[in-house]
C-alpha cells in the first residue's frame, strides 16, 4: 500500500547508516517484513530499484525475509502462525483470528514488523 514511502524511508535510513561508517558503497540490504503488514514485496522491490538510482545503493542487493504472523490463544495456550482460510475463491489465503487448535479467538503478537536487519557496506 505505502510501499514507495516506506521504501524511501528504507533507502534514507541505509544512507544515514552508510554515512556513519564512511562507506563508499552499499552491497546488501536485508529487510524483515511481517506478513501482517500491508507491504507488497513486489512493489517494495520495484520502488527500491527506482529509489537507489544514482545513490551509493545502486546495484545493491535487496534481500527480503518474510516473517509469518504470530498469534497466541489465551484459552488453550497455542502460540504460532495464524490460521488462513484458503478457499480457492479468495485466491490469496485470508488470515483469521480463529485458533488453529481450539477454534477459540487468538490475539496477534507478531507479524507487523518492517525492519532493516543487516547491511553490507564497502569502505
Amino acid at each position: 500500500m505505502h510501499e514507495f514511502s516506506i521504501t524511501s524511508r528504507i533507502v534514507n535510513c541505509v544512507l544515514e547508516e552508510a554515512k556513519k561508517h564512511n562507506a563508499r558503497r552499499v552491497n546488501e540490504v536485508h529487510l524483515v517484513v511481517g506478513k501482517l503488514t500491508f507491504l507488497g514485496l513486489e512493489q517494495v522491490r520495484f520502488a527500491y530499484e527506482m529509489l537507489v538510482k544514482n545513490t551509493i545503493l545502486e546495484d545493491s542487493k535487496l534481500h527480503i525475509e518474510e516473517k509469518d504472523g504470530a498469534v497466541k490463544c489465551d484459552r488453550c495456550g497455542y502460540a504460532g502462525d495464524l490460521r488462513y482460510e484458503d478457499d480457492p475463491v479468495y485466491h490469496v489465503p485470508s488470515p483469521t483470528l480463529v485458533c488453529p487448535k481450539c477454534e477459540g479467538a487468538v490475539n496477534i503478537v507478531g507479524g507487523k514488523e518492517c525492519t532493516i536487519k543487516r547491511l553490507k557496506l564497502v569502505a
Binding site: 561508517h21 501482517l36 500491508f38 532493516i116
Partner: protein
Amino acid sequence: MKEVVKAEEGEVFDIELEADLLKANKELAEENRELLRKHGVAAIDIMGSIGAGKTSLIEKLVQLLKEKYRIAVFKGDLTTTIDAELIARHSVEVVPINTGKECHLDANLVRKALQEIDLNNLDLLFIENVGNLICPAEFPLGSEKRAVVISVTEGPYMVVKHPFIFIDADVVVINKADLAQAMKVDAKKLGTDVERINPNSKVAVTNCRSGEGVRKVVEALGL
C-alpha cells in the same frame, strides 16, 4: 588512547541493526494513548468504507451519549468540513482534520488535533478516519478501540475482500439494514463473515438514519 581503528579501502562491513521503519507512527500512537489514558479519555477510531455511514453513526452515538459523557469528535477527510459541520450541529466539540491527499489518518495528525481540545474537560473521543478499508489498519492512532463500519449497499463481499481491517476491529457495524432487501444482500451473512475472520470482534447491524441498532453499537463499545 589507542589509534583509531579504520577500515581499509574496499573492506566490507557487515552491520546488524534493528531499524523499525513503521516505528515513527507506532511511537506517536503510544504517546497519544498515554496522553488520553492520563486524562481518562476513552478514544474510539471509527474506520470504514466511503459512504458506509461513519458520520451518521457518530451523529447517532453523540445523540445517545452526550448526556452521559463529555464528547469530542475528530473528523478526518481529504478535504472539506461538510461532515464535521453535520456532527457539530449536535453541540459537541469537533476538530476537522483534512489530510489533503493522504488516504488515512496517522498518529501525528491525531496528536496535532489533540492539542486543539481541552482533555481535562473530556470523557469520550470519536476519531472518524478517512473512508478506506485498507490503509487505516496499518496506522494505529492511539485509540482504545477500533470500529469498522460497512454497509449492505457495498455488496455481499466487503468482509471477505478486506480481511486485514476486520482483524484489527473490536466492533464491526453493518449499516443500512433497511436497504438489505433492495440490495439482495444478507446483513447476517456479512456478520458471520466477520465472526469467521475475527471471533474477538462484536458485530452490530444498524440503520443509522433511523437509529435502529445503534444501542447495540454502544453496548459493543462498552459505553
